[in-house]
Symmetry: C2
């Protein structure tokens, strides 16, 4: 009896708005391919492989175009996620043996892992194991991360939508701030602990009449509170409202997180850490004394599908399809990625990169894309960012809230599946 040719796909790391679009891309292309028999999804990333939590995606999505399209427009991760780092092969081989045993049992020929930095480490390690043990399996990484910090690619799926959320929110927050005839400083804290891409994208909020944010601080540059106060005072000389974008990961000259200087203490004397925004708010209150407020943009940065980038969604989907394409062409131990051909009009091509070049690397904002004063980004950086937030998907609403794919579906089908296997 000849072996089947099956696909296994899984999602890992932090969620993004478009990680399901990449999953939809893998599914759409795989479902079209006659060579492929079944498509399994592992729940909760690589841990779902280890724990044999596999769901039959071909049953759930096969012949159901509408459901596939809904998956494409559903934020976060349909299959769930994990934050699990495989030990090095030389340290402990248990996980590897288990994973490849599952691959064998389910006749997996192609394994696609959608994730960020840490997930590419998993792809790298599994590829090495397969190679060393002469196992004929294709392993492909499909990138996603709102942080945009993967090397060797122009940008990462998930980033454009997060950038659009940040820019749109700051524009609306600016409308909210401008209304009082009072000197006001507003500090917006943005995600991205080591790389400043997301904070930089706040600059996209600027339009013909609103120049907010007026100051932008990225973690790539040393942050000085004294300079910050000086920058603010300079701004206050010629404008009533100063809106500031700061990265959650700002560090001082000693490499210490600015946020770590802020701690909360409750009535019992217990201490918890609070954000850099709140910390700077306190400083402004004392040192400048005008009206001040800080806002921490929350996890909606990575899951607000209702204000996502169509460019981002389409690219994420296409990368999923391209991953399957590359696998069918015989590539393995690769990450697929985006290469920018041109900016105006914006065009990208899809490429593959040897996985060992990508895993465990981090791409930061180049220092030449930050102004010499360290309180803004350059036009070059804005030109780079602009095309990534263009376009809006049509989001269906039901009873006044977005209609997303119901996660329950998986569990319902899992029942069917488990009774069959």
């Amino acid at each position: 009896m000849s072996r089947e040719c099956n696909v296994l796909v899984s999602q890992s790391g932090g969620p993004t708005t478009v990680i399901n679009a990449s999953l939809a891309g893998v599914l759409a292309r795989s479902l079209k391919e006659k060579m492929i028999n079944r498509i399994y999804g592992a729940e909760y990333g690589i841990q779902g492989v280890i724990n044999e939590r596999l769901v039959p995606l071909h049953q759930i999505f096969g012949g159901n175009e509408e459901r596939l399209n809904q998956l494409k427009l559903t934020p976060s991760m349909f299959l769930g996620s994990c934050r699990y780092r495989l030990p090095h092969m030389l340290e402990d081989i248990t996980d590897y043996e288990r994973i490849f045993q599952i691959f064998y049992k389910y006749q997996i020929k192609y394994f696609f892992y959608i994730g960020g930095n840490d997930s590419m480490d998993t792809v790298d390690k599994l590829s090495d194991y397969a190679k060393q043990n002469n196992i004929d399996i294709t392993i492909i990484g499909i990138p996603k991360t709102i942080d945009n910090d993967l090397v060797e690619v122009d940008h990462t799926p998930g980033f454009g939508s997060a950038a659009k959320y940040i820019a749109s929110s700051i524009l609306e927050i600016s409308h909210d701030t401008y209304i009082y005839n009072t000197k006001t400083i507003l500090i917006v804290e943005i995600m991205g602990r080591n790389a400043g891409w997301l904070t930089a994208s706040a600059a996209l909020a600027r339009n013909g009449y609103s120049r907010a944010p007026h100051l932008i601080y990225l973690p790539e540059r040393v942050f000085s509170v004294a300079q910050f106060l000086q920058d603010l005072n300079k701004q206050l000389k010629h404008r009533q409202h100063v809106i500031v974008a700061v990265s959650e990961g700002l560090k001082d000259e000693y490499g210490m997180y600015v946020a770590s200087k802020n701690s909360q203490i409750d009535q019992f004397g217990h201490v918890t850490l609070s954000g850099v925004g709140k910390y700077l708010e306190g400083i402004v209150q004392r040192e400048i004394g005008c009206k001040v407020r800080s806002i921490e943009l929350n996890v909606l940065q990575r899951c607000a599908m209702h204000v996502s980038s169509l460019t981002d969604i389409e690219e994420a989907f296409a990368l999923g399809e391209y991953g399957v394409e590359a696998a069918l062409m015989g590539e393995t131990a690769k990450m697929v990625g985006l290469y920018r051909i041109a900016n105006d009009p914006y065009r990208v091509s899809y490429i593959t990169i040897p996985i060992h070049k990508v895993a465990n690397q981090e791409k930061k904002v180049p220092l030449e894309w930050i102004t010499p004063e360290g309180n803004d980004v350059t036009e070059d950086l804005i030109d780079y960012l602009k095309p990534l937030i263009i376009g809006e998907p049509f989001i269906e609403f039901e009873e006044g809230i977005p209609k997303y794919l119901k996660i329950k579906t998986v569990f319902e089908h899992k029942q069917i599946y488990q009774s069959k296997v």
Copy 2:
């Protein structure tokens, strides 16, 4: 020379997503009315009247349907706002004399004030002054407040859009939370210091597969930390992820704000107040010990036009028109408002209410609409809320961010105006 018949309109209090829609309604109806010569807008609320900061809205919007439509879909306040409470007439008459002097100078026959509780106090006081001094001027209040706490009306413009933002955000945050196979408690802090309407609207996030938020705590009920922990533990017995909606205004049995028990202390020993969410996060961390996160929904609750309620926008616009209608019919010292005729299909009518019945009152969530356990809302409350978030406006995007009316326009026209007067 006969006197002109002019309109003055202004906005006051905190912003909402649809307060410009009400302004657009006032403008649309006034521009159609042959009896009306000019339409002025006072910048920064009643303070703009006192300081004679008037802009010629008939010049800005007359014959410009497109601009008027853009105003309708622009969040926050086109004319700016103030938080200014008129002194009682018997204490100090200066402001009153100044305001009515400006009314006289600009030949104002109709004054419309769009605002919440405090703004209705202004309408009330100015109406009294006009009556006592036999001044023939019509003064009408047009309601707005995301808090939904005005009495004598079914609900207030601004609330529906805030409720939709809250419900949609909680749905997306839930998608973000469900992905890890780990016990997690997520606390979402929602605006509304005294009235729980906004927090209650979190319940609208529930759909066929996601029951989040699983617990809801309104400020109308005494909050007990012990009961809260008990509720959480009960939830954790049968679900992995517990999402909780809490009002920023929760109070303990002594009437103390729960948030006030939380203070922040920085490296210099300075203390600032933080929210109830962060406070409860700390308690959960210590007492339950599972993964916990708190999110404070920020000012986007009151300005996120990109996910606003079309029902809310249309009602706000219609109330603006109806305010002019009522004024033309000879009504004065009134607030216009919404009366609900039926729920299914949802229908409202527009009414006028004597202003003294509304000013300085506060409508809270009725206790019978909170479950006996005090940790959820009843179906009756959900039925009341549901129609208010229905429908989505078409928001135009430009370069990837929402295209709103450019505030600068006012200032440009003010120049023209000031050179003419």
